[in-house]
Symmetry: D2
Subunit: 337 residues, 4 copies
Amino acid sequence: MIVVMKPKASLEEINKIKAKIISLGCEIHESNGANYSLLGLVGDTSRIDAHLLQANDSVEKVIIVQEPYKKANRLFHPENSEIIVGDRSIGGKKLSIMAGPCSVETEEQIMTIAKDVQASGATFLRGGAFKPRTSPYSFQGLEKHGLELLKMAKKETGLPIVTEIMSTSHIDDFVEDVDVIQVGARNMQNFDLLKALGKTNKPILLKRGLSSTIEELLMSAEYIMAGGNENVILCERGIRTFEKYTRNTLDLSAIPAIKKLSHLPVIVDPSHAAGLWWMVEPLAKAAVAVGADGLIVEVHNDPANAWCDGNQSITPERFNNLMKKLSVIAEVEDREI
Amino acid sequence: MIVVMKPKASLEEINKIKAKIISLGCEIHESNGANYSLLGLVGDTSRIDAHLLQANDSVEKVIIVQEPYKKANRLFHPENSEIIVGDRSIGGKKLSIMAGPCSVETEEQIMTIAKDVQASGATFLRGGAFKPRTSPYSFQGLEKHGLELLKMAKKETGLPIVTEIMSTSHIDDFVEDVDVIQVGARNMQNFDLLKALGKTNKPILLKRGLSSTIEELLMSAEYIMAGGNENVILCERGIRTFEKYTRNTLDLSAIPAIKKLSHLPVIVDPSHAAGLWWMVEPLAKAAVAVGADGLIVEVHNDPANAWCDGNQSITPERFNNLMKKLSVIAEVEDREI
Amino acid sequence: MIVVMKPKASLEEINKIKAKIISLGCEIHESNGANYSLLGLVGDTSRIDAHLLQANDSVEKVIIVQEPYKKANRLFHPENSEIIVGDRSIGGKKLSIMAGPCSVETEEQIMTIAKDVQASGATFLRGGAFKPRTSPYSFQGLEKHGLELLKMAKKETGLPIVTEIMSTSHIDDFVEDVDVIQVGARNMQNFDLLKALGKTNKPILLKRGLSSTIEELLMSAEYIMAGGNENVILCERGIRTFEKYTRNTLDLSAIPAIKKLSHLPVIVDPSHAAGLWWMVEPLAKAAVAVGADGLIVEVHNDPANAWCDGNQSITPERFNNLMKKLSVIAEVEDREI
Amino acid sequence: MIVVMKPKASLEEINKIKAKIISLGCEIHESNGANYSLLGLVGDTSRIDAHLLQANDSVEKVIIVQEPYKKANRLFHPENSEIIVGDRSIGGKKLSIMAGPCSVETEEQIMTIAKDVQASGATFLRGGAFKPRTSPYSFQGLEKHGLELLKMAKKETGLPIVTEIMSTSHIDDFVEDVDVIQVGARNMQNFDLLKALGKTNKPILLKRGLSSTIEELLMSAEYIMAGGNENVILCERGIRTFEKYTRNTLDLSAIPAIKKLSHLPVIVDPSHAAGLWWMVEPLAKAAVAVGADGLIVEVHNDPANAWCDGNQSITPERFNNLMKKLSVIAEVEDREI
């Protein structure tokens, strides 16, 4: 951390800031330029709140040099992490492909789709039981009954279940029934939920918020990890920009960025990113080419009659075709489907 | 709602979509242009999910004409709403000025500040007890003890309390202790929390999410109102943009926009918008000039030693001076401080 | 400028970077933290390209401490600048109000509007002769004939003319006919145009680009000033964000920010910001309250039949009414209309 | 185009708008819902300015159904366009790979790089002679001498030249010396430049502006095409968002979007998008996987000493390695390198 003093800061003011830095347990390296004095903090700055220093009148700005996350930081954990889910691993050579409907609707629906995606090579079954919807008048999910149907599909196919949690009050059910607990984009900074999940030992799929920076995503992972649960998988699903042709703008640069900054695995959700089924295939291919550890894709056997988000779901036939193409691209990356 | 069929949609496909529209309880007005056929839906479209129609291959796009919110919509409620809090009203001629520290720290701190802001004309006391922080290593608030200190300050000054809730598990405490329950920007789409608050009868201060559109803010208000609680106050607090000189970009255009679209009162938070104490004064004046129903402002007696966000807090002296200027601007708007 | 070396940079690599810094004419202050080595550059860094250093494998990142603009920087020019235009001044106690139609259409139109806005207290006449339009099929302006009509209106009313230049090929005409030459948002980084205008001595009204940071706006001012023309007036006119209710999002925080960073005057364009005539009044009031040095407002005698942008123009009656309100707010700021 | 009348619009007001629509040469399809009356315009609406109608008090909003571009529109030109450059074609089965330095620096530099990229399979040589730089104090390019050096490199290698034009005053030189004239992101809406290029018959590489929508990019292509020059190649190079880890956010969704909306070829610039050399490889692979018609990549033999943008340039060795991987991915798309 570097404190840039105002050009007109007096020696007295500079000494006041220096005393504060020392009281925070850091040493100081001072450097005086033509217009600015710089005070460099040497020591463990990860728990120091930059605002504490910035709130002084004599301080021009505070520059943060080291990333504010530790457990998620590749600097302190150079090897890639693999997250183990039963007999599968997320973040290893084999890509993790999570596929299934936006919402669980009926036993027949989820069974059909689960078998179809498994046959095409999916390694996890996704499906929403509790649904975050912009409108209170939209279908809100089958809730607990949805979890039951997912468990039936898992029993039939062996596919581990990925599904979204919306509230701390459901944690016990999720820990019992679900293999990977998803935190949706809108809850990425629901810190009470993150803290509660940090106390479980379940793999957590943490989706990037619509307007969250990569650093904020890693700070939310840090919340879970600081609680004791290091089984975090990150997910890029599009960010909000001025461009409205697609629902969100898929930020594929985030994949190599996260790979550089963190050791955690990261997957891509091409369905929510674009919100357009005909874009899922090209974006999925691009995600594998850019180095993602997997995908989460919406697949529905009858998109035109889906209870939600039919417009971004692909059919099992298209999914099957897509998987074949992905396996060629995966090889270029020395990965496999 | 208008369905635009693809240029090459066949008569059979058009008839299929027409049948679907009729099954949803709407009449159809058809209009054929040079390149596109349009199907207009006439009837109550507020509960129809546009994606249901869009997921058909023959549909080019679906255009929504009417706003998807009803209870928050000025169209069905032309008069301004006033929210009553004890002997005060939010949304009436007198502006609501909520002032106080970012976090409640000590009894002495909250008492001092409460008396100071009251003396300057503040009408509500703000102060955080449960704090949403980006880093798990930052101060997380005094929690329940913070609520106790706020109640002491209320007892002393008579100022009603505004403070933020972060989880459904605290609702009982908040209903008992707090006068206005704040939902923070990061929880604007925490739908479980919104639903739970909809079942109380407490005034809710709903802050706009960092990347939420005005329409989404009104849809979140609709969640609370649909549950039965129509006491919603909206708050603009800056949105996330590419400009990084300020923490967020205060969107003051949102005030006249919300006034046009909705009957609910709307206030402005200049402290979180800029994240810079020296911008609070100009932005507060602009907020009153643009027609806001009030302000929520961070005031701290010792910003350089505040436990959080000192950099965006103004001193009681500056607050006092600001209030005098605001009262002149309020008059131009036929309002009063 | 501070160079942050990679955690694993070898002594040899660090020495290589040090040698490069010295070759650029700077001294080095070195500081070694737990994980990073920092090399601080002391000396004139304004002409050093940070990328030159960043392109080295051993460099983690380069942090810029001092603003890259000099002539526009308040640090080296603490007093506010006033730009003199004939007998008027922009940036002084009296606010500059530039009003008139989007496009010059006919002699009668421009004469009528010019007289109306003058009667209400406008101090400059704005009007487009060369029009940047998104579509090649839209009205492109009266061009040279438009300049002639503006001159007639100036002769009649005495109002100096503000109008937009789109190409270096028109500079001679503009220098002769126009009092303040406007550079539109889309040309803010048309560097050839900026350089050419730097060689004139005309006041330049430089509008912020739709996606330009405050720093980039000041760098574009620097282009003009570096050429020898220090008569630059800045203009905030809305930036592009995810919110689509308004055409752009007016960034009023930019006004106090620019006032802090630079000595140049800055005005606000509420018409282009919102793109909605009924928002012009509240945004204009907010702009004066936030501390702008003036406004540029579209006024049309018959908005519903305007040849362009009628939707964002207010009538002379509304403008007259607005001016009265602005004068009260200006007083709060110790300014006058 | 659909005009939505205000809920309280009177019959007289509705009739006034109808008369206006008829005067614009369109027929009307009227549709009355519970709250809104809709007037659909049938006929050629591409030259009608929506603002003309929107500026009426009785109009709630105007919804545009058909895209405002014609010549660039796939609707009227269903087949992909190929742009012929000598013996090469852009937009055909073989991908177009444009490679070379950010700036032309010396004869030796450009010769070395040109031979290297040709040997690796590049099909065009890129290199800047006129450079748009944010700072007036940065290197501005070798200008005309740069064009001479590019011609020498072309003579030696046979690679056609792609380079950026910044001003209408250089058009004659560019038409004579250059094979593909590039319009940079900052000039995408420099309409005078677009009009002038529309009168040449040279292939134009049009880069998307930092904050331009896909529709605006196509409208700028329309400017060139409306002038008579239909040889336009589009380029996605990253848009400006809140995420600052990368210089811009590469919007790869734009590729399938443009392919759907337009028949023009579209390539990707991974170098300017990220601004980080180590991201060029993954983003280039993703661009080919998503369906781009080619790439424009910065390659420099000594990035650490490049005169500009060294931080985003890859070495010839890395480029060579990248080309091999791209050829496998291209095959999945039924394309070739």
